[in-house]
């Protein structure tokens, strides 16, 4: 024992007096000890640490969590480092991040019982080159959200694929300064959803085979509401044709199957340069919040919206959901852009400024429902666009963690 202690002391001295380069911790390898090793490393991390995972399949039964600022969790790449939660027993998500400045990159996460990756009150977070999927396809028993940043500032989601979420694949809620780009959402109920958030740029993504492609919502009864200033541009929003499989009661259960972009309530939303096709209900749908409202601080109207310069292919040919009964009244088809025509709530009427600045042959319909909660039997459809208006577009979102390389 004395010899060992002497050896240890010598080693410790050597370590203390040697070159100052810190020893790089080895990557976590798959195996029976991997979960305990990884969770211990996440808990004991120091700001600036990079925690690496080897390629291989990691079968975890417990959720992971990270609560240390400025830590990077890096796998060997999508499809190479695979974290499977097929046998998950505990926790509401696969990975929960509650610290700032975190980067998650280079792994696939599969089959969490609840949400995939949640980050809460986690500012300056980067989700980069990740895949979150439910391998059984679109099922109501899948978890709700794939990636789920909430109550955060400066959120970057880049190169992320989510498949099979029973609510939204890529969901950002109650946050500000958000970029979702170069990502792919497929076979989810909602592909990408920005909810109760401010200043979001959603661009150069592919949303396909969801029930609804891209959603921008503002909902009542939440700590953060009054969502505004979102730009949805240069996305491919095509063939959103998966039957809505959300559990009843969730707001997304009301998304009609085959909706390209669905905008609910909110202010100052700009949709431009996108390519739409194969969305059988409608390509762009703009609606008010249609349930009863007990929240005096909430405005259910979409207002100051600009829809311009998009490319529209075939669609609107088989409207689903709540709009299905209306379709026969207008020839069985919906035009590419549909607005519910609600301009008043709680006795107040607003100049909502829904601007459609598209080529003349791009069809538009207002259902003329007037007030919310709406009464579908009182629809007064009109194909006339509202007058054009100058609505200043929000500036491009710039994130501190997204500075271009010098």
């Amino acid at each position: 024992m004395r010899v060992l202690i002497a050896t240890v002391s010598a080693l410790a001295l050597a370590a203390a007096c040697g070159p100052t380069e810190p020893a790089k911790a080895a990557a976590i390898a798959p195996g029976a000890e991997a979960y305990a090793q990884l969770q211990a490393r996440l808990q004991d991390a120091k700001p600036g640490d990079v925690i690496e995972m080897d390629a291989g399949i990691f079968n975890f039964t417990e959720g992971l969590s990270l609560d240390v600022d400025n830590v990077t969790l890096r796998g060997a790449g999508i499809g190479k480092t695979i974290i499977s939660f097929k046998e998950q027993k505990g926790a509401g998500e696969g990975l929960l991040v509650t610290s700032d400045g975190v980067t998650l990159t280079g792994f696939t996460m599969q089959d969490t019982k609840g949400d995939g990756i949640k980050s809460k009150d986690a500012d300056n977070i980067t989700y980069k080159d990740l895949k979150v999927e439910w391998t059984g396809g679109p099922l109501a028993t899948n978890g709700a959200y794939g990636v789920y940043p909430v109550e955060s500032e400066n959120v970057l989601i880049d190169g992320v694929t989510v498949s099979g979420a029973s609510d939204a694949g890529i969901y950002v809620g109650q946050s500000q300064n958000i970029i979702v780009r170069n990502s792919r959402a497929e076979y989810n109920v909602a592909g990408i959803e920005i909810e109760n958030s401010m200043n979001a740029d959603v661009h150069d993504n592919i949303a396909t085979h969801n029930a609804g492609g891209i959603l921008v919502f503002d909902l009542p009864d939440l700590p953060v509401k009054g969502g505004h200033s979102t730009r949805v541009f240069n996305n491919q929003i095509v063939d959103n044709d998966t039957q809505n499989f959300a559990p009843e009661g969730n707001i997304v259960a009301s998304v009609p199957t085959g909706t390209g972009v669905l905008l609910m309530a909110n202010r100052n939303v700009h949709v431009f340069g996108n390519t739409f096709s194969g969305n059988k209900t409608a390509h762009v749908m703009i609606v008010s919040y249609s349930n009863e409202i007990n929240d005096a601080a909430y405005n259910p109207l979409p207002r100051d919206f600009v829809i311009r310069d998009n490319t529209y292919g075939e669609g609107g040919n088989d409207p689903q959901g709540r709009l299905a009964p209306l379709a026969p009244l207008i020839g069985g088809k919906l035009p590419p852009i549909v607005w519910d025509g609600v301009t008043s709530y709680g006795g107040k009427t607003e100049d909502v400024r829904i601007v459609v600045r598209e080529k003349e042959d791009v069809g538009f319909i207002s259902l003329g429902l007037g007030t919310t909660p709406p009464d579908l039997t009182k629809a007064q459809p009109s194909m006339t666009r509202l007058p054009d208006a100058v609505i200043e577009e929000p500036k491009a979102v710039v994130l501190p963690q997204d500075k271009p390389a010098a």
């Binding site: 060992l4 240890v8 080693l11 410790a12 370590a15 020893a23 080895a26 990557a27 976590i28 390898a29 000890e33 979960y35 305990a36 090793q37 969770q39 211990a40 490393r41 808990q43 004991d44 039964t61 417990e62 969590s65 990270l66 609560d67 998950q88 027993k89 505990g90 926790a91 509401g92 929960l96 509650t98 969490t112 019982k113 609840g114 949400d115 809460k120 009150d121 109501a140 978890g143 709700a144 959200y145 789920y148 909430v150 109550e151 609510d167 109650q174 909902l219 009864d221 939440l222 700590p223 953060v224 559990p247 009843e248 009661g249 969730n250 707001i251 349930n291 009863e292 007990n294 929240d295």
Partner: protein, 367 residues
């Protein structure tokens, strides 16, 4: 500093593990020696305030015996009027406040404990929880320590011999067979939480905080038979407690059902479901003093519940417990549906029945 995590089975790792072992052993030993020299025997304030958690529960000196049944002087047993349900585990709570210091009374929140204070909670099971004192075994002991820089949470897991509890920062699962107080035979997949999970419940605005020891939860006769606020004041570990301090109604006492149900939700849910808590983004706030009915669930639509909604529209549908998401999630045992997310794998039938009765009795026209 020597990194203690290393790939298993590779050359060099054994030495690293030994290094790590020696480091903690030496550190713990030295701290214990230092503390023992200044304050024999008894609680070791130096170990409590050390930068790192002690490797063993016994290093802190809270107990006279290895089985931790007999507390040292200054370590005071207490209980809460309404405990959080944790799969029927028995809980033994102790508080330690450094000599010469006292916690400051608050009417509405947990007392302000001075630096160096420790809340000690041991989770235990007997083979038959109808006779919880017979053959009781300790599973884990959790420490909440008020360090100079704030509170820290350290889980310790008991060994099979019941002679020591070892620091277990990443938690553990353990199968426990027992008979519940209502006679139901249970095989519980009991989860000892990891350090981050401790913080999920014990968190407000990103800071780790205690939950239990507030006036409302302590203002009754405790394990010693005396009113706990009076007893703590008498012992000098609490100052400022008035004669008319508030008390929460016992969930299974004789107060009005609304008060009892809200008190139950406060203890079992509000640590996350409140502003600044882990579930703040849901907008569902279940603290006893939440005044907005939508806030505490009446006709409130789910936010991020996923299949936790159970195809129901509202958290509480007055008069209809079976159409209320709250009931659905309390009677579920499936991960991602059940609530609370942590600390429960079985159904709290008594609590569930309380909530069912409360909702059933609400007028259907409730706001």
């Amino acid at each position: 500093m020597i990194k203690t995590v290393s790939p298993h089975g590779k050359s060099g790792s054994r030495i690293q593990r030994r290094l790590a072992f020696l480091r903690v052993t030496l550190a713990g030993g030295l701290a214990a020696i230092a503390a023992a020299c200044s304050a024999p025997p008894g609680v070791k304030d130096g170990v409590i305030l050390a930068a790192d958690p002690a490797p063993r529960l016994s290093d802190y000196g809270f107990f006279k015996d290895a089985a931790a049944r007999e507390a040292e002087a200054g370590v005071v047993a207490y209980d809460l009027v309404n405990p959080l349900f944790s799969d029927h585990a028995a809980k033994h709570r102790l508080v330690y406040v450094p000599k010469g210091k006292a916690a400051a009374y608050n009417a509405d929140s947990v007392f302000d404990f001075p630096v160096g204070s420790v809340l000690i909670k041991t989770f235990a099971f007997a083979p038959d929880m109808r006779k919880p004192a017979e053959g009781e075994r300790y599973i884990e002991t959790r420490l909440l320590i008020h360090k100079e820089e704030g509170w820290a949470a350290y889980p310790y897991v008991w060994n099979a011999e019941q002679t020591e509890a070892i620091y277990a920062p990443v938690g553990k699962r353990e199968t426990i067979k027992t008979i519940a107080p209502d006679g139901e035979a249970l095989s519980i997949d009991y989860a000892v939480p990891n350090r981050n999970q401790c913080k999920l419940c014990h968190s407000k605005g990103g800071e780790l905080i205690p939950i239990g020891p507030s006036a409302r939860s302590l203002n009754h006769a405790g394990p010693t038979g005396a009113n706990q606020l009076a007893d703590w004041t008498e012992r000098g570990i609490l100052t400022g407690a008035p004669q008319d301090a508030p008390a929460a109604p016992a969930a299974y006492g004789d107060a009005a059902i609304e008060l009892r149900a809200r008190a139950w939700l406060d203890i079992n849910c509000a640590h996350c479901h409140r502003a600044g808590g882990g579930a703040s983004n849901s907008g569902l706030f279940l603290a006893w003093n939440e005044s907005n009915p939508t806030g505490w669930g009446v006709h409130k639509r789910p936010t991020a519940a996923g299949r936790g909604s159970g195809d129901n529209l509202f958290v509480i549908e007055p008069g209809k417990p079976d159409e209320s998401i709250l009931v659905h999630r309390l009677q579920a045992v499936e991960p991602s549906v059940l609530m609370p997310e942590l600390g429960r794998t079985t159904v709290d039938h008594q609590g569930l029945e309380l909530i069912r009765q409360w909702i059933a009795g609400m007028p259907a026209s409730a706001p």
